[in-house]
Amino acid sequence: MAEYKLLTKDIGVEGLQTLPVYERRGGYQALRTALRDRTPDEIIEQVKISGLRGRGGAGFPTGTKWSFLPRDVFPRYLCINADESEPGCFKDRYLIDENPHQLIEGIVIAAYALQVQHAFLYIRGEYHDQRLLLERCVEEARAAGYIGERILGSDFGCDVIVHGGAGAYICGEETALIDSLEGFRGQPRLKPPFPAVKGLYGKPTVVNNVETLSNLPHIVSRGGEWFKAIGTERSTGTRVWCCSGHIERPGCYEMELGRPIRELFEEHCGGMWKGRSLKAFQPGGGSMQVLLPEHLDLPLDMDAVMKAGSSLGAGAMMFMDETTCLVNVSMRLVDFYHHESCGKCAPCREGTYFESQLMHRLEAGVATLDELDTLKDICANMDGKCFCPLGDTATWFVMSAYRHFRAEFEAHCGAGACPVTGAHRPLLAGTA
């Protein structure tokens, strides 16, 4: 099988972040083709044919999402989701750092297909240097006539506005992103109405991930059918996997969908570091369920991984070796959700607090066996009962770790220290 690299094939070329080099590699030709030879509907059709599914986490088919926009309501908006904050995820930052114009070309193509005049690129506050880079690239593209009025001499005009967030993971959730962009506290909205019908400023809005949009120049220049032939039937194209943890070569690697996880782990990541063995891994970013070494032979296919009880989510692979304490990892992820809960709904606001307190007691070795039942109870009262998916996902890793490593959780109870690493973690104030 041929090895496909689309989004990352030019990465490493000196100066790719500048317009002349990007253009020399064929950059903005797809936009030219789109504006000259394709109607907006034809592009949407090609994206549908391509089978492209969103790379932001949920994996919803992009062309279908686009076609939910009501036909005759204007203005309408495109929001680009560069909020990436989930533990283990750093692929959007990589794509921005290494190939920013590819993203901008994808944005303008999407804006044309959707007939949008204003595209808002929402980038998390922590990506300060990346925001400056994107602002510079937008100006470069504007000066060259790829952004602004009458782009490349066509009737189509569009502006791209880079908007920096300020440190709130929840703003990656699409309706919270819209709230934040409107100048409110970033808290999720009730759905329906969905953003496609009533989004930014009450107008039809599409929210797409950085990697999703970076695929568009390739789909336009080579066609939906060509794209569809890469990957599997229902998971087409490639994905950029961000790999972290106890591996020899942490980093981002693009691979065709459908290849075995083992290939990513052994060939790209170089396997476990220091010759240790794999204990567990998490395939989709901080919110997804933990998997075991036996799952390494699963294909990188959204549906197959879901069948195994987890998800490829945002494409973040975190590998853990035999020395890892799963209670410790769970505690950190639970702390993250507690910290990032927006506070809008009680099950999540209170649930993540209790979860975090309990995990700290467990890690310190002072919790009792009964408290493990309390933990299960708390999670059961959160999963499916929270206002937005953040609260639900705050339970997934810890519950899957508990299922797979029950003995390890139980061994912590009353042990006075972590039985896996021997560490004595002081209790949080208020948890004794």
Binding site: L35, R38, T39, P40, D41, P75, S85, E86, P87, G88, C89, F90, D92, R93, Q115, V116, Q117, H118, R124, G125, D129, L132, E135, R136, E139, R142, G148, E149, S154, D155, F156, G157, C158, D159, I161, H163, G165, A166, G167, A168, Y169, L181, E182, G183, Y201, C242, C243, S244, H246, P250, G251, G286, A316, M318, V329, R332, L333, F336, H339, E340
Partner: protein
């Protein structure tokens, strides 16, 4: 209390959005760039410029963790201790910084040079773990020696705000802006049919 340049930036931000309220976050960034933090009087001035109540601006500012509500030191260090970083020794990184700076997470050194904190918020540098952000810049693959070198280098630099590196690019040329946001109808009639 805000400098003319900051006020001009806020005006510019306001003009970029269909609704002035959307300019809150960029305005607060502009203020923080000038003053290093967000004093209540400055937030009130932002509110006035955007036509909002001061409480509305405060409510937004307090939601986001990157806005400082108290003045920090000249340089700001953020050490990620979430899962991916922890697997590669983030706790040791944080301990080393605490020992070098001589003050616990969330505080400022006695000479006002550094404010540092460990954070459970993933900073998107998991592939280069253990990592930290110093005045917004990523510093990855940390070792105790590298941390010492970075601290020495940064201490010799000007403060992160105001006289530090630019936080923005020049405004786009006015002539090249797209049609006004309120325009009804599809922007391109030609190809759509």
């Amino acid at each position: 209390m805000l400098a003319a340049q900051t006020r001009a930036e806020i005006e510019h931000a306001r003009g970029r959005y269909p609704h002035p309220r959307s300019a809150i976050l960029p305005s607060l960034w502009a203020v923080q760039h000038e003053l290093g933090w967000l004093p209540p009087e400055a937030m009130a001035e932002v509110a006035e410029l955007l036509g909002l109540a001061p409480s509305e601006v405060q409510a937004v500012a307090t939601f986001y963790s990157m806005y400082f509500k108290r003045p920090p030191g000249r340089h700001h260090i953020l050490v990620c201790v979430n899962a991916a970083c922890a697997l590669r020794g983030a706790d040791e990184t944080a301990a080393h910084i605490e020992q070098r700076l001589g003050c616990p997470s969330g505080t400022t050194t006695a000479d006002g040079m550094f404010t540092w904190e460990s954070t459970i918020e993933c900073l998107g540098g998991c592939g280069g773990a253990p990592m930290m952000q110093v005045d917004h810049h990523f510093e990855e693959h940390l070792t105790p020696q590298r941390i010492d070198t970075i601290l020495a280098r940064v201490a010799a630099q000007p403060a992160a705000h105001r006289d530090g590196p630019p936080s923005r690019v020049p405004n786009p040329p006015a002539a090249n802006t797209p049609p006004p946001p309120t325009a009804e109808g599809p922007p391109s009639a030609g190809a759509a049919g």
